[in-house]
């Protein structure tokens, strides 16, 4: 009871004075603080060692038994920007498993104004042209080229400059790694363990 005594006393004093409380000051609008977010890094790292990045992606893809997607483009190229937008389309962004994280290790290689990494592109059989960016290359886990395509093959019907998300999704689906067999390697591990007098450590995981 004692803890509510000050509250009761305050009410009593106010009632005895019967004074109209002073008007409240006008509400002040406090502007929300402006949060300065750093600009996202450009998609195509102009200082990257593209050859090393591709090699690292092949190594990582081999670990997960998936494939590598090389995206040859440039930060100031309209087609490359449209490709980046197409990646946000439902056909691609909501694919399960995700093309861009589960099915492929992606390497974005800067080709500038067709004056960067051109020799590297040639080694993968990529023919680059200013009006045909981006170009896409799919590699298997050994680094061998599985497929090449360019923006011209990914255009929406009747649009000479766009990138069609369903066509990109179809390309990625067509060339993603086939589902690996689990039974044969499992049986092989049991056989090897029997031969070596060891134990099998079976590990279930997923690329994601």
């Amino acid at each position: 009871m004692l803890h509510i005594l000050p509250f009761i006393l305050a009410l009593t004093v106010q009632a005895a004075g019967q004074q109209t409380p002073p008007p409240l000051p006008p509400a002040q609008v406090v502007p929300a603080p402006v949060v300065q977010r750093p600009a996202p890094p450009p998609l195509y790292d102009e200082k990257a060692d593209a050859k090393a990045a591709i090699e690292a992606a092949v190594h990582a893809a081999a670990t997960d038994d998936i494939r590598v997607l090389i995206n040859w483009g440039a930060n100031d190229d309209a087609g490359s920007k449209k490709f980046a937008d197409a990646r946000k389309a439902p056909e691609i962004a909501r694919s399960t498993p995700s093309f861009f994280s589960d099915e492929y290790k992606v390497v974005n290689v800067n080709v500038g104004h067709l004056d960067q990494n051109m020799d590297l592109a040639k080694t993968y059989g990529v023919k680059l042209a200013a009006d045909a960016l981006p170009a896409l290359t799919v590699l298997d886990v050994t680094g061998k080229v599985v497929a090449n395509t360019a923006a011209a093959a990914l255009r929406p019907d009747g649009d000479p400059a766009g990138i069609d998300a369903p066509k990109v999704a179809a390309f990625l689906k067509q060339h993603q790694a086939p589902a690996p067999d689990s039974i044969a390697p499992f049986e092989a591990a049991l056989k090897q363990a029997k031969k070596d007098g060891k134990t099998v450590f079976v590990w279930f995981s997923a690329p994601w």
């Binding site: 689990s182 007098g197 060891k198 134990t199 079976v202 997923a206």
Partner: protein
């Protein structure tokens, strides 16, 4: 680890037959990663679902402790010192990874 184990990694989502292999050892689907130590005849010695659930990648002290008991159950070639060294290595990895 190679002293004791033949390791096989199966892609649970995409691997053909992977879910069937897991079902041989546990009824209810577990989170990933999930793993088991098996005798060469395919029977389970122990698996990663402990008293508190699947330890996955062992991070917490409880999970690391359970992983240690798993190693001890499978122990044929590893010495106690080997197991201690593995656990020390795992703890160092977890610490470096901020886990």
């Amino acid at each position: 680890m190679a002293k004791e184990f033949v390791t096989v990694k199966l892609d649970f989502d995409r691997g053909i037959g992977a879910k069937d292999v897991e079902k041989r050892y546990i009824d209810k689907a577990q989170g990933l990663p999930w793993f088991a130590f098996l005798a060469p005849d395919g029977t389970a010695i122990v698996h990663s679902t402990g008293p508190k659930g699947n330890i996955g990648h062992p991070n917490s002290a409880d999970e690391v402790e359970y992983f240690k008991t798993m190693l001890q159950k499978a122990q044929k070639h590893l010495t106690d010192a080997d197991i201690d060294a593995l656990i020390t290595s795992l703890n160092a990895f977890n610490k470096a990874a901020g886990k």
